[in-house]
Symmetry: C2
Subunit: 351 residues, 2 copies
Amino acid sequence: MLENMTRRGGEPKTVTGELGLIQWIRARARKGGAGPKVGAGVVLGIGDDCALLRVRPGEEIAVTTDLSIEGRHFRMDWHEPEVVGHRTLARGLSDLAAMGARPVAAFVSLGLRREMASGSRDAWVKRFFGGLMKLAAEYDVPLAGGDLAESPVVLADIVLTGAVPRGKAMRRSGARAGDAICVTGELGGAAAGLERLAAGVSSQFAVDSEKARLGGRDLAAALRAHLYPQPRVEQGLRLRGAATAAIDLSDGLSTDLAHVCQESELTAEVDEAALPIAPGATLEQALHGGEDYELLFTVAAGRRIPRMIAGVRVTRIGRMLRRRARRPQVTLKSADGSVRALEARGWEHFR
Amino acid sequence: MLENMTRRGGEPKTVTGELGLIQWIRARARKGGAGPKVGAGVVLGIGDDCALLRVRPGEEIAVTTDLSIEGRHFRMDWHEPEVVGHRTLARGLSDLAAMGARPVAAFVSLGLRREMASGSRDAWVKRFFGGLMKLAAEYDVPLAGGDLAESPVVLADIVLTGAVPRGKAMRRSGARAGDAICVTGELGGAAAGLERLAAGVSSQFAVDSEKARLGGRDLAAALRAHLYPQPRVEQGLRLRGAATAAIDLSDGLSTDLAHVCQESELTAEVDEAALPIAPGATLEQALHGGEDYELLFTVAAGRRIPRMIAGVRVTRIGRMLRRRARRPQVTLKSADGSVRALEARGWEHFR
């Protein structure tokens, strides 16, 4: 656990080493509005063997963990430290959103090379926590603990805890035949943004208004979708009770919809023409791209589907169907009415 | 999150790749008695965006995370995969023990090199989970989720969740001047065992009775202390309400006692002659060794201290004192009555 202690009776003179770094994080977590609030979720934050959390009577606790590893999930030459911090937390918050859980506390286990842990105000680790805590403050989720270790490869494991009324969490397994399939936001933007980064476009196009003007709105939007995804926490909370099943689009529509089919023991048909493809993205990126962190959810056939939820567009993209012999798990229906199997071609490790 | 899904409508033919591996883990978690039990802690385990947990009314949730990284916390040539799995889980359970929390659920995020994720019954990853789940079954804690990723360095981040009655958790900050300082078990054994491993002694001496006979009881005991530490969960539960403060001895007595001093705003004096030094260990190893995963706790001055708690020896090793100018944070009192400062020389990253 992250611990704060100044040893041998005095305050540490430097902010180098594990202890100095932990003290800096603890102070930063407090200052940034992302520190523990006694009685309101986090009872005890950074500084002991465990953090202590409280939820309301009748609530269940949702827990998710996600590893981000240098070279696999981010690259030091493409992703600024703030971006790595933002994306690390966003992944965990998006899992809570998919269950309809309100965030309670975040924990991060961080592996760093020795030279990254010490020193100046613009040290990698400080910029990483800067990005993470900015998003944490926006979503009002305190950083309540974690771990630090020396590692030859940079890595961050994010743990999110949330709370949801007993029995009310949205699961992958709840969809029924005939349900409409819906998504929030737009698809493929994150993949399009990653493609531009890989092609050598500076991530500054996402945030520098002059560059954004030169590169065009589509480029700036795609880069932002990849670099600064917005987890749909508020949308998830509002969908609770209305959606029959939900999942977040982390691995790609084709893969994540297959998860819902598998757990709900159904098949699914997607209308190609209905897909809300992000500006600058291709159909392939919308189908398989991943990392959009939008929500995919199912709604009972007769139920009205709102056009917006908490400021974010909602689109009906298909329907859940019964399993049948020789029917593929997910099919794509083209504008001309032809139907083909949609292979799960999203992200999978060790493949 | 660990997800279980067989895509494209059928059962997977192989157990390679992320999905096959997750399915194997999910089945193994169920079979081993460490699977989710509906209604009794884990409501929803491996297979969705989040796991769902329940605690009893009036309980707080304890959360701890601990990173273990190849080359830092374990070595492939010294530590069998079962040992890495055991030690990974033991670290987390020990943090719960220090708070007096009962384990509710474990999560593990695992980074593996590509070739380690697939294949035969004796694959590294299967033996890792074998060791982890054996201990999980002994402590009746279900594996409820986690993450898997490809990584150039092997790593495991363990997350433990536990439950403790509101306001009853033991904290580092609760010690008062005059309190007795106690420890469970013996100290320095893990460091002595590690020293033997580093000197080339086979870890088989810990478990092979013929080898143990040849190497002597002290060697076998020291190796076991390092390879298979037993977290003091039951002892922690029984200490709740009796101890004023507690911490687990993960970094070493000198360092961990300094943490209690820091958080309780006190100093401490240790009686050298009282230390329960493990057979085969040195005084230095008992003072600074770390990884014994015993509990250090403080007890009000007048209170009776049991000689054993749940089958484990308890030893009074010193006392908490007020802070005074020029008094070191922790002092060591020798048998001849002389007192010297005890420097915190336990484990610290990035030092």
